[in-house]
Amino acid sequence: MGTPKAALEWHGSTLLRRICGLVERSVDGPVVVVRAAGQALPELPASIEVVEDAREGRGPLQGLAAGLAALSGRARAVYVSSTDVPLLHPAFVRRVVGALTGEVDVVLPLAGGFPHPLSAAYRTSLLALVERLVAADRLRPAFLFEECRVTRLDEAALLADPALAGFDPALDSVLNLNEPGDYEAARARPSPEVTVQLFGPLRRAGKRLPLALRAATLAEAAEAAGIVLDEHVVAALNGDQITRDPDLPLATGDTIAFLAADAGG
């Protein structure tokens, strides 16, 4: 790629920032980034935790162990994502995590003819097993799946979720970038379709509402709506968190409400 995947530019932000933001939106616990020892990472929000692999070059189970260890005691389950899936949709994360019911240790998506262990959900209670496999040099995820209860979701099962079927019918959420051409092709795609609402004095600019436009980040949405994203403006994403973060990643179907920062009174 020429540039570490985590730092690849994505609509004025980075791939890692995008993935962290999308996962953070989709779960109700902390988000942990696992990096190689000393690996430089692009800027991340303060809410994102960073831990390091105990040893380099040991594959995905080593990273999984580090992540599970960081979250052990704080979460019963985790969603694991690679950093190179820029078309990930929150509905995909919710579909996968939502399938992690009582008798299941792993939810493993099967799409495009492949399993996607780096787009999957895991019980944190698997930590000891994962560490044992790593210690035994059994480093492929398949070894883990042999020893725990796995629910495999094929494309039909994934798309049985109406939200996912609506927002990501081609399951681009698992489309990863292995070659420069993959990145260029993904980057050339149109930004997600989102809806923008303007309130108070922002709406008085004569805009027809709501605005349907394309934007991959909050900054892009503001610019497309003619809003200056300064200290006098905040945004609410899907009626949830209030934010001013221009790098906040957006996904198809999002609704962004821009309102005066001086709300209240």
Binding site: F199, P201, G239, D240, Q241, I242, T243, A257, D262
Partner: protein, 604 residues
Amino acid sequence: MEGTLAPGGYFGRALVVDVADGSADVLPLPEDVLRAYIGGVGLGTWLMHHLAPPGVDPLAPEAPLAFVFSPLVGTPLTTSAKFAVVAKSPLTGMLNDALASSHFAIAGKLTGNDAIVVHGQCPRPSALLVDSDGARLEDADDLWGLPAAEAEERLRERLGKGWRIAAIGPAGEQLVRYATISHDGRHAGRGGLGAVLGAKGLKAVAVRAGTKVAPADPPAVLAAARDLRARSFGPATAKYRELGTLANLLAFNAIGTLPTRNFQAATFEGAPQLAAEDLAELKGVARNSCASCSIGCEHIYAGAGGKKVRVEYENVFALGPLCGISDPDAVLAASGRCDELGLDTISAGGTIAWAMECVERGLIEAPWLRFGDADALLRALEEIGAREGLGDLLAEGSRRAAELVGGDAGEFAAQVKGLELPGYEPRTLQAMALGLAVNTRGADHNRSGAYEADLSGAHDRLNGGASHALAAVVTEDRAAVMDSMILCKFLRGIFEEPFPEWARLLSSVTGWDLTGEELAQTARRIVLAKRLYNLREGWSRADDWLPERFLSEPLEVASGRAAALTAERLTTMIDSYYEARDLDPEGVPDAAQLTDLRLDSLVT
């Protein structure tokens, strides 16, 4: 009379009037007291500590009520023409202060007093007249029963244009526990101060300027006024200028913070019909300012029949979504009727919405009172204003009414310390939930602006914690100083370093060498002085709490995320708030803190 011994901007005295006979005493206000409490709400709190008998019935003759001015009144500083009314609340039984504004503040201060305190009871309906010659009573039999605005107009016609008048409406006369005091269409609205005046037989207080007061450094004040005025035209106040506070409504609906049908929901399907963004075009007829204000936040709409009504978010929220009503003409009519009767719209709407739910649950036998029924809302307001029929119960406010109704009626009475909640949903604004719970005035958005923290994006508004407690402290402290100087809170967004900037403003007026640090300490002193007053009147930690509905009935925001505020979470935030304020686990300051903030004289 021009107060040569007092600091700039002050007269150094309060006039204490016994309205039983109109006699008045001068209470000297030493400079150290003025510097420690500034004016407005702060000085009013000090006055209540010294003049209100412990345990006094708020509606008893001996309960004092103070109109308190501030050092900035009369200066050209924008939004400074404000006054505080302070008394023990008949709604909460605790300290209550409410602000109003415009010419009464200027004329009242230029009677030569930093505060005018009334106690006693008139032998017959009266108006109190105060000017530089002192105080006297005037018969007001002919004004009794009139709306406040009409009484104000008639009395001014009788006395002359130099007089400025604050008056009560019929609700104050009837001792409705959330009656207001009005001046020029603005209201000292919360906590039932109109009932305190009504209990004294005072229909109105009239003031006339008769002296002058100079700031310590007139050129500096003028320069500051020019700067403040220029900044007041900027983007931080655009919302207030362009649409007024009603601009909140549609935005709050979008983020799930618009209380609906007695807080059973946080979004309202009829919100677009009540939105300022459209109504301003359809019904807006004028925009007004208080005296000495360059913002001009008052947006006047024409209701049915062309009747002009001043529109605020709180009026519309409380008489609209909270009661399930989406017809803008109906909401404007109800708001206008509250103004005429002299009713706090928040408490009126809150109490009626509670009663509507009681009817749904079979706890109150009043089948006519249904969510969404505008005629029922207007009927309820009439009955409250006259204390007739169901109105006699509802005039008590939702807490007392719920106690009388019994059963589980208290669990969904949306009040804290007896004061009905404003239009901020605590489950989706959890810093505000804390602010509502711990505020000394009760559920209030003006003394605790913790919603600012929720809406800043700085932390998770659906997941309250320790950081929310710090935010609540910061907004309370800032409010304490703004309400004591007094400057309008709609200016708050223009100050980058509030305490140092306010210290410079106050120094130019008073001549003191104030610093931001001293003013921050003053803020803490005022907040704790209020808490100490409540403590004296029987407050306990249990009063810093929210009704059960908010702790056991989660909401869901548009993203699908649950907004749950549990008792455990609220306890954690309250503990953190007490810790941040150096209070003990029961919410009480220790002796060292009292000494440090020079509050010990209030408790001995």
